[in-house]
Symmetry: C2
Subunit: 201 residues, 2 copies
């Protein structure tokens, strides 16, 4: 397999309140060739969820065996269930020449960066501190204390920007998508990913 | 002046026959905000050429004094005339927050890279060796010997690709322009150029 046919892993991450989920869905609608990474989980399937479409459903034992054999690009335990990103699915799509999009929180993205440094790491941020405040309050589920906690957490998460390749301001979803599509095109033009051209001449 | 308002220098270069001039003109039509770098030269102005528009016209003494005081990002002597890129014009536009486009041969680009490593270096190439052959022959000015020389030179120039940031295949001019516009957008999203955002929160 030459480099030519190799896809690129794009990791969409950022502080909570940035709108990762919304931008990810919009991107998938706009980019029919893009492949969305499917997570593995030990939680029970909900009605309508399909194995290999929404999640790869695993037993605890299966999941822990994947952890042990480094078959996960990242994983976490949330409320007693495991969630993780199977390496095989991602690497298979990349080898087929398909780009892969992975939407994930900052902690997960930092794990992926260790196991797959060749990925392109995008940091999505709200347009301003004021806008983040409005978005957190807009959920209408916050007490004054929990608001302060969430807002403080988001501000300190913002410092993690330095560990990423690109920062994308999510002012308007479609504008953020256009920036990300430009980044995808640019990365495919990077010299490091096109050295195979030298052999063709 | 914060980083926020700083423009980016895009250096468009590549082997002869790649179509640098055509792509540069098309880009300038498509990007009204882009500022084209103006060269200094010691050659006589031709009819209609204006100082500060087509070139900065200089005496040999003026030009040599610019060389001596490192006021040129690059320079060369061609058929007894000096040509070069004045640093002040470029840096002033960048400081005003304008992006600057500089179209230049590979030797010049490598000089610019030394004096302004912060620039973004684009390597434009023809879509294939066959297409390059057709383009050189298409000029209709080549003997068999001069063709072989030019073709061999272009092939060895191609190896310089490794020194650049991006490679852009010039299959169709407008498609090449779109790729370059994506690269411009992506570079404006690079974390390294957006660290000032961390102070705003």
């Amino acid at each position: 397999m030459s480099d030519k046919e190799q896809g690129i892993l794009f990791v969409l991450s950022g502080p909570s309140g940035a709108g990762k989920g919304t931008v990810c869905k919009a991107l998938m609608r706009r980019l029919p060739e893009m492949c969305l990474s499917i997570s593995a989980t030990t939680r029970q399937p909900r009605e309508g969820e399909q194995h290999g479409v929404n999640y790869f459903f695993k037993t605890r034992q299966q999941f822990e065996s994947m952890m042990a054999s480094d078959d996960l690009l990242e994983w976490a335990e949330v409320y007693g269930n495991y969630y993780g990103t199977p390496r095989e699915f991602v690497e298979q799509k990349l080898a087929e020449g398909r780009d892969v999009l992975l939407e994930i929180d900052i902690q997960g993205a930092m794990q992926v960066k260790k196991s797959y440094p060749n990925g392109v790491f995008l940091f999505l941020i709200p347009p301003s501190a004021m806008e983040l405040e409005a978005r957190i309050l807009g959920r209408g589920t916050e007490t004054e204390d929990s608001f302060a906690t969430r807002f403080g957490a988001a501000r300190s998460e913002l410092q993690m920007m330095k560990k990423y390749d690109y920062v994308v301001v999510n002012d308007v979803v479609e504008a953020a998508c256009e920036r990300i599509e430009s980044i995808i095109t640019a990365e495919h033009c990077s010299v490091a990913r096109n050295l195979f051209l030298l052999q063709e001449w």
